[in-house]
């Protein structure tokens, strides 16, 4: 996983609440067995007409936002289905950070696991940042994970909160599985304990 340290990039405004994962990537594009290549379908219902042509009014079809690396949105971003295809599509498009007042839980988790930083900031701040993004090519926002600040184009720094463990993983681009496997002996002893305490737990059937 690519580490996330400090990102300075173009931010696209998406002033909508409840942007659900069906909007981020509709179910018909989930029929893939790969993680890559989903960026072309990102926000398909908002971004394209039925004939596949672009909807010019959608922000990611406009300059300079075609190259956006940050999205600023409103409440409950990423609600709905647990599909990790949503962060994969965002990442494949080039989005590394989403700023919103709050996020749906599963999407929030999935983002970290793919090197995308979800930043929670109050609605009033998001409103300001949305105004900033309208400055087009000058709308470069910096997200500094190390120092936990978002820097507005005018230089104002806005601090944000993040869980220390997640920050550590993201800064170092660490994969969760490798981390957990370092605790294998704890898992072994948990299983041994469980065999005693919960001997009623049936296992399932044998392999296919």
């Amino acid at each position: 996983m690519e580490p996330f340290t400090k990102l300075t990039g173009i931010a696209a405004p998406l002033p909508m609440q409840n942007v659900d994962t069906d909007k981020i990537i509709p179910a018909r594009f989930l029929k893939t067995i790969k993680r890559s290549g989903l960026g072309v379908h990102l926000f398909d219902p908002l971004r394209f007409n039925k004939d596949g042509s672009e909807k010019p009014e959608f922000v990611l079809n406009q300059e300079p936002y075609r190259k956006a690396e940050i999205i600023v949105a409103f409440e409950n971003f990423g609600c709905g289905s647990s599909r990790e295809h949503a962060p994969w599509a965002l990442l494949d498009f080039g989005i590394r950070c989403i700023i919103a007042p709050d996020f749906a839980d599963i999407f929030f988790n999935n983002s970290f696991k793919n090197g995308i930083l979800p930043v929670r900031l109050p609605r009033a701040v998001c409103n300001q940042l949305i105004e900033d993004t309208k400055m087009g090519g000058n709308a470069r926002i910096t997200v500094d994970l190390e120092r936990q600040v978002v820097v507005r184009p005018n230089g104002e720094e806005i601090p944000f909160e993040i869980d220390a463990f997640r920050k550590h993983l993201l800064l170092n681009g660490l994969d969760d599985i490798g981390q957990t496997l370092q605790h294998s002996t704890s898992i072994d002893s948990y299983e041994a304990r469980q065999e005693q305490d919960r001997s009623w737990m049936p296992t399932t059937m044998t392999a296919a």
Partner: protein, 472 residues
């Protein structure tokens, strides 16, 4: 934590599964059961393969294909028409062989929607942790299992380690009391709950449903409520196990038997929330707030009683919310003030992991009996599993439905989401017993209204939304 501190059902299951608490409070949580399907697992297997990793405990996993399986005609993978659907199913079959994962083949009579078959086969048990790469995993919480949906990276994490890294969640209690009115079902209860708490109301929480209305539901109804927990923003929705739960589980294929059953039962009885345990958030409702419900918008929280009208966006102060509301009306082809009962429908879908159980099909058949599906309406009944289908046929429900002009299909997710041949087309209005009314969920441009099975059947025979209480 001292033994004397009163704990919630959630606290007890959580505490029993903590392998290790990391310095920042994140826990390595042991996972007792992992259910897999074809849509969210291929990239996880791909990841394992790339890293040269194996499944730690393949015996605690079980796989089934459900989202892409056609509901009529041949169901063998090689006959699936759409190429990418076929590839996903074939990839699952290949992966389960390679990694030694127990698998329920498509032609096995136990095949079905993953959240239907977990409880049905006795795989979902009280006091256990259960996960699946699917947000409606909350369903299994109805049995007192801490069950939640996970993303594909987490699927891979569970495969490799049999654990998940989880930050503790907050406790939320939703208490519903009172006798349900005529024509009201579990679906109406949960739609009313989401209408009240909103689609983000449960974010960051695990919900426990309490109160005599919930306790009075049968297991199918409880599963309907827990199933839609995720639509209220919470990942897991628990209901304390009681005699109804134990009677349901006993004798099921993978449930504990003999001495193990007695031990399990003794443990399960210790699980309900202790008196005085702390909930971070509490919501109280009475059955008076619950009528047969219909959603009008494109999130499950936009819901009114069937006797209600389409709300007016002009009544909303917040500008953003008002704009979103307007967009919904446009998408749904509705005007403020329209009576729900004036809305003509084109399609009816009865099925899904929310309402694809035998009790749901019985409720639909009861309304359909002796009536006919209205002209121009396509009505689909899709049992949630092969076992549900067989049971319905043994009870003659298929004949009642077929005589009334419904289609009787084979088990799958079907029209719940547009991943298999069952879809609605742009502009079509559908009364659906599924769980999501998002734009395009049932097919591009399709308009979904979420309802109970009885309400869906009533809509099918009248050609518009109808108050099931007046259908005698």
């Amino acid at each position: 934590m001292s033994a004397s501190k009163p704990r919630t059902l959630f606290d007890k299951i959580w505490d029993a599964h903590v392998v290790e608490r990391l310095p920042d409070g994140t826990c390595i949580l042991y996972i007792d059961r992992h259910l897999l399907h074809e849509v969210t697992s291929p990239q996880a297997f791909e990841g394992l393969r790339a890293a040269g990793r194996k499944l730690r405990r393949p015996d605690l996993h079980i796989a089934v294909a459900d989202h892409n399986i056609p509901t009529k005609g041949s169901r063998i993978p090689k006959d699936i028409q759409e190429e990418d659907s076929r590839i996903q199913v074939e990839t699952l079959e290949k992966n389960v062989k390679e990694f030694g994962v127990p698998y329920i083949p498509i032609l096995d009579k136990r095949q079905g929607i993953v959240h239907i078959i977990g409880p049905e086969l006795g795989l979902s048990l009280p006091g256990t942790t259960l996960v699946c790469g699917d947000s409606h995993t909350s369903t299994h919480g109805a049995l007192g299992s801490l069950a939640f949906g996970i993303g594909t990276s987490e699927v891979e994490h569970v495969m490799a380690t049999q654990t998940l890294l989880q930050a503790p969640q907050k406790n939320m209690r939703i208490d519903v009391t009172g006798t349900l009115g005529l024509g009201c079902s579990a679906k109406d209860v949960v739609l009313a709950i989401i209408g009240k708490i909103t689609t983000a109301g449960g974010n960051g929480h695990v919900i426990e449903y309490t109160g005599d209305t919930i306790v009075g539901l049968d297991m199918a109804g409880r599963m309907t409520v827990s199933n839609m927990t995720i639509e209220g923003g919470a990942r897991a929705g628990l209901i304390a196990p009681d005699q109804t739960t134990f009677d349901y589980i006993k004798g099921r294929e993978f449930a504990p038997k003999g001495e193990a059953w007695d031990k399990a039962l003794a443990y399960w009885k210790t699980l309900p929330t202790d008196p005085g345990a702390h909930y971070d958030t509490q919501v109280f409702m009475t059955s008076a707030e619950i009528a047969p419900m219909v959603t009008w918008g494109t999130t499950p929280g936009q819901v009114v009683p069937v006797t209600g009208i389409v709300p007016n966006p002009m009544d909303i102060e917040d500008e953003g919310k008002r704009a979103q509301h307007q967009r919904m009306l446009e998408y749904m082809g509705l005007t403020p003030g329209q009576h729900m009962t004036d809305l003509a429908i084109d399609v009816v879908f009865i099925g899904s992991c929310t309402n694809g159980r035998i009790e749901d099909i019985r409720a639909a058949a009861q309304v359909a009996k002796g009536r006919k599906v209205a002209d121009g309406v396509q009505a689909l009944v899709v049992p949630g599993s092969g076992l549900v289908k067989a049971q319905a046929e043994a009870e003659g429900l298929d004949r009642i439905l077929l005589e009334a002009g419904f289609e009787w299909r084979d088990p799958c997710c079907s029209m719940c989401l547009g991943m298999n041949p069952d879809k609605i087309t742009a502009g079509q209005r559908c009364a659906s017993t599924s769980n999501r009314n998002f734009e395009g969920r049932q097919g591009i441009g399709g308009r979904t209204h979420l309802v109970s099975p009885a309400m869906a059947a009533a809509a099918a025979v009248t050609g518009r939304f109808a108050d099931v209480r007046q259908m005698g």
